[in-house]
C-alpha cells in the first residue's frame, strides 16, 4: 500500500512538472511535437529510475558534504548511457532533442528526487518513486505536446487531426506558445485539484535541492 502511494505520488499529487514546476526548460523546449515529448519523458524517466536506485544504494557511503557533486556524477553517467542508446536506436529523436538530451543532467527533477527521496529511502521505494516521477513527467510532456502539436501543426503524433483547410496557429510551436501553454496548464491543474495537491508555494521551487540558496538569492543576496 505504502509502495503504491510512493509510486502514484509523482503522477498527480506531486507531479514534478505541473504541480512542483520543476524541469521547466525541457518541458517548454521539446514539447513542440508529441513524439519528442514522449521521447524526452522516457529518456528522463530512465535516468531518474537508475540514478534513484544507485544513489539509494550509495546513500550510506556518500559523505554529506560532497553529496551534490556525487549525485551529479551518477546522473551524468546514466545520461551518457541514454545518449548512446538514443544515438544508436533513435537518431531522429537525437536530432530533435539536440542539446536537451545531455541537459537531462541538470534537470532539477532528477537532482531533486536524489536529494529529497533517494538519499533517505530504501532501494525499492526509490525505484518506485523514480518510476512514478518519471511517469508524471512523461504524462505532463505528453499533455503539453498534445496541445501544442494539435494547435500549432494540426497533427497528433504525425497524424492529421484538424481539417487541412484550417490554418494551424504556428506560434504555438514557437517559444511564446510554449510559455503560454505551460502557464495555462499549471493554472488548470491548480484550479482542478485545489486543496488536494501539495501546492506548497506559488514559486514552485520548494522541491528543488537549491531552494534555500535560491530563496536567499531572490531576497537580493547578502545585504
Amino acid at each position: 500500500m505504502n509502495n503504491l502511494k510512493t509510486f502514484t505520488n509523482g503522477i498527480i499529487r506531486e507531479n514534478p512538472t505541473l504541480v512542483l514546476v520543476l524541469g521547466t526548460c525541457p518541458t517548454i523546449a521539446v514539447t513542440t511535437m508529441v513524439a519528442n515529448g514522449i521521447g524526452m519523458g522516457i529518456a528522463a524517466a530512465f535516468v531518474l529510475i537508475c540514478s534513484n536506485v544507485v544513489i539509494s544504494m550509495l546513500r550510506k557511503i556518500i559523505p554529506d558534504t560532497v553529496r551534490i557533486p556525487c549525485f551529479i556524477v551518477v546522473i551524468a553517467g546514466f545520461v551518457t548511457i541514454v545518449q548512446f542508446l538514443v544515438q544508436a536506436f533513435a537518431p531522429a529523436l537525437n536530432d530533435a532533442l539536440g542539446v536537451f538530451l545531455p541537459l537531462i543532467v541538470v534537470n532539477c527533477i532528477i537532482l531533486g528526487r536524489a536529494e529529497m527521496f533517494a538519499s533517505k529511502n530504501g532501494v525499492l521505494a526509490s525505484a518506485l518513486d523514480g518510476a512514478g516521477m518519471g511517469l508524471g513527467f512523461t504524462l505532463a510532456l505528453l499533455l503539453m505536446s498534445t496541445v501544442r502539436e494539435i494547435l500549432g501543426a494540426g497533427t497528433w503524433l504525425g497524424y492529421q487531426v484538424l481539417p487541412e483547410s484550417m490554418d494551424p496557429i504556428a506560434v504555438f510551436r514557437l517559444a511564446p506558445g510554449g510559455f503560454f501553454v505551460f502557464g495555462l496548464l499549471v493554472a488548470a491543474v491548480a484550479l482542478i485539484t485545489r486543496g488536494r495537491v501539495s501546492h506548497k508555494e506559488a514559486s514552485g521551487c520548494t522541491a528543488c535541492p537549491f531552494a534555500d540558496q535560491c530563496a536567499k538569492a531572490s531576497e537580493g543576496g547578502a545585504k
Binding site: I72, T80, L103, V105, A217, S218, G221
Partner: protein, 198 residues
C-alpha cells in the same frame, strides 16, 4: 572580423536569447527575478561563470578528449568541470575579493545546475566554434540572460502588484504567461542580424 563577432553578440542577446528563444536557464529566470538587485546579481554571476566555463571546457574537449577518441565523455566531464570551477571561483572570491563575494556569492552554488552554462558549453562544441568565437558566444549569451532578467524583473513587479488575478493564475502561471508575451516581443528581432550585417 570584428563585424562577425559583433553580429554574434547581438544575435545572442536579441535574436537567440538564451532564455526566451533557447529555453535555457528558466529556473533562475522565474526564481530569482523578483528583485532588481538579485536579477542583476544573478545575471552578472551567470555571465562570469559562462565565460570561465567556456574558457575551461573548450580546450579540455579539443586537446584532451577529441584526440583520444573520448568525445562521448563530454557531458560527464563538462558538468564536473563546471561544478569544480564554480566551487573554485567561490573560494578565490571569498579570499581575495570579499566584497564581490558578498554580492555574487549567494548565486554561485545555483549556477552549477543552471542549464544555460552546460547548454552553452555543449552548443559551442556542437557548432564547431573556434576558441575566441566560443568565448564571445558565451559572453553574448550571458549578456542576453542579464537583459532577460532585468526586463522580466520589471514585468514581474507589475504582475505582483496587480489586483484581480484569479487564484489559480497567481504566481508561476501568470509569470509564465508574461514570459510568453516578452518572448513574443523578442521574436520581433528575428531577421535583425541579416538586416544590419547581411
Amino acid at each position: 572580423m570584428a563585424k562577425e563577432y559583433l553580429a554574434l553578440i547581438l544575435g545572442c542577446i536579441l535574436v537567440n536569447n538564451v532564455v526566451l528563444a533557447q529555453f535555457m536557464g528558466i529556473c533562475p529566470f522565474l526564481g530569482v527575478s523578483r528583485k532588481m538587485d538579485s536579477a542583476v546579481g544573478m545575471g552578472i554571476a551567470v555571465t562570469f561563470v559562462l565565460v570561465m566555463a567556456t574558457a575551461a571546457t573548450w580546450p579540455f574537449y579539443t586537446y584532451l578528449l577529441l584526440p583520444r577518441g573520448m568525445a562521448y565523455l563530454e557531458t560527464l566531464s563538462f558538468i564536473l568541470i563546471i561544478a569544480a570551477l564554480v566551487q573554485l571561483v567561490e573560494i578565490i572570491m571569498k579570499k581575495y575579493t570579499p566584497s564581490l563575494h558578498k554580492q555574487l556569492g549567494v548565486y554561485l552554488p545555483l549556477i552549477t545546475t543552471n542549464c544555460a552554462v552546460l547548454g552553452i558549453t555543449l552548443t559551442n562544441i556542437d557548432k564547431t566554434y573556434g576558441y575566441l568565437q566560443s568565448l564571445v558566444n558565451a559572453f553574448g549569451t550571458g549578456l542576453g540572460f542579464l537583459l532577460a532578467m532585468i526586463l522580466f524583473n520589471g514585468v514581474r513587479s507589475r504582475i505582483d502588484s496587480a489586483e484581480g488575478i484569479p487564484d489559480a493564475l497567481k504566481g508561476i502561471p501568470s509569470a509564465l504567461i508574461a514570459a510568453s508575451l516578452v518572448s513574443m516581443g523578442f521574436m520581433g528581432f528575428s531577421g535583425l542580424i541579416e538586416g544590419i550585417f547581411g
